[in-house]
Point group: C2
């Protein structure tokens, strides 16, 4: 891969505004920056993402990998980040075929696509990774350091890949889905294998988030906040341990609690999937 220079943005903007706390005080402080990244592949415009305008190469490559257009960085012959960082031009060693990843998008009304069809899209995650609740809680305390965008300006999401001991990679973005693309892009650039690592996120876990996690092969997906019904169903089907509201000594575990080593509970696989079928995740 050649031409991979990047323009780095700081990720925040300093502004004059006012704080009210009974009285008004003028301040000059950081606000999170929002920008757009346009990705071109083989000369064609593929997508424009609303994102934090920084580290465009990681975001673009991770997006391509999560969309199924590339598997390895070797497939990228040229990746050129334009001046200002607002677009990335990617030329691949193969043509880009039309492959709508999210089947449900095009299924429409008459398609009759079911939850089972959606779940069948990827194989279950195979991994022996096991963490104690204390380990998982401890990892979350390290997510947002003093020099993070979050600490400086709020308004961003943070995600990380962890081997259970360390945070191997951390990514921040105004869009929570982008944080997962950034992690995968960084993995491709550095030759890191995401499969088998736990995925930590500050944002809510939607079906899209679980899809990206499954594609990366992450056996544990944990969030500071909540999952949706569909993300719980997909995590169950894809053999992913899904945790929500993780605090230092508290958390909810929605699926596959067997990976949390200290779990003293009776696991009843099957119960949940029946519930999903009855409540009808399918919109067909």
């Amino acid at each position: 891969m050649s031409g991979q220079s990047q323009t780095m943005s700081d990720g925040t903007v300093r502004l004059d505004y006012h704080i009210y706390d009974g009285e008004w005080h003028p301040v000059n402080a950081e606000v999170i920056e929002e920008g757009y990244l346009t990705i071109f592949v083989n000369g064609r415009e593929l997508a424009t993402l609303m994102c934090s305008p920084r580290l465009p190469l990681q975001l673009a490559l991770g997006f391509l990998a999560n969309e199924g257009l590339i598997q390895e960085v070797d497939e990228v012959e040229i990746a050129h980040v334009c001046a200002g960082g607002g677009c990335v031009d990617v030329w691949l060693s193969h043509p880009v075929w039309e492959r709508p990843r999210r089947k449900i998008i095009t299924s429409g009304c008459g398609g009759g696509l079911t939850f089972a069809d959606l779940a069948a899209d990827l194989p279950p995650v195979e991994s022996n990774l096991a963490l104690s609740p204390a380990q998982l809680g401890e990892l979350f305390t390290r997510l947002q350091t003093r020099d993070s965008l979050y600490a400086r300006a709020r308004g961003v999401h943070t995600s990380a890949l962890s081997d259970g001991k360390e945070l191997v990679l951390v990514a921040e973005d105004v869009g929570r889905h982008n944080t997962l693309d950034r992690l995968l892009g960084e993995c491709l650039l550095r030759g890191i294998e995401p499969a088998g690592m736990a995925l930590l996120a500050t944002g809510r876990i939607s079906s899209e988030m679980v899809y990206k996690a499954a594609q990366m092969g992450c056996p544990i997906v944990a969030s500071r906040t909540s999952p949706t019904s569909m993300s719980v169903g997909l995590a169950q089907a894809w053999n992913i341990t899904l945790c929500g509201y993780v605090r230092r000594r508290q958390m909810n575990v929605y699926t596959h609690p067997e990976r949390l080593a200290q779990a003293r509970l009776v696991v009843q696989p099957g119960t949940f999937l029946v519930a999903m079928a009855e409540t009808g995740c399918s919109q067909g």
Copy 2:
């Protein structure tokens, strides 16, 4: 408009899962529901939204209005919600022309679209609405009632339109942009004029959120959390008072503080726009 029957979903799903607080406890509790809504217009599939699977008609009509495809509900001849609520078939009294609303999406790299071009897309909001910080803080305390989806399962955003005294309309959805489409859809169905009302939101304010607010003619946009740099720039240009981190007796005001009646501060219009130009919101 005919054929507007709706299938109501409850918006949550009851699941068996486990809570850890030093020990494991099985619970059966509500998790927020995630679904998809496919919108057909004049027989063509327009879009599929990830959303809370409830009140599909409001979401579909508000989406069409915010995308500029309709101005009035009279333009809708038939709106049919399919069994299950997963899609809405809309037939308009006029053909649908291709009109990409968000210019920046198609501007790409060479387009050279600037922040000023983006801001010029809509006229500034004209309104005499003025609120005290106390009034605004008080309105936020009423956003999420005991029977709201948020109170039951978390994981959703809430937005509301207010005349300054009451919450006139409230909408909840797993997607924060959808809450604004829902508000506009409800306005169309009930014949309520959103222009001149304050828009309250629990979620972060992105450029897209400010765009929808400007299109509805809302002079005050207030959030429990943060705005992005681009939303601040657009609010300044469109004469919208933008507030963040609103609490009962605290808040930040990023633009046009003159609408907060008790404001005792020196307003320096112009300062901010210069800062935006220097930091370069344009990605062109």
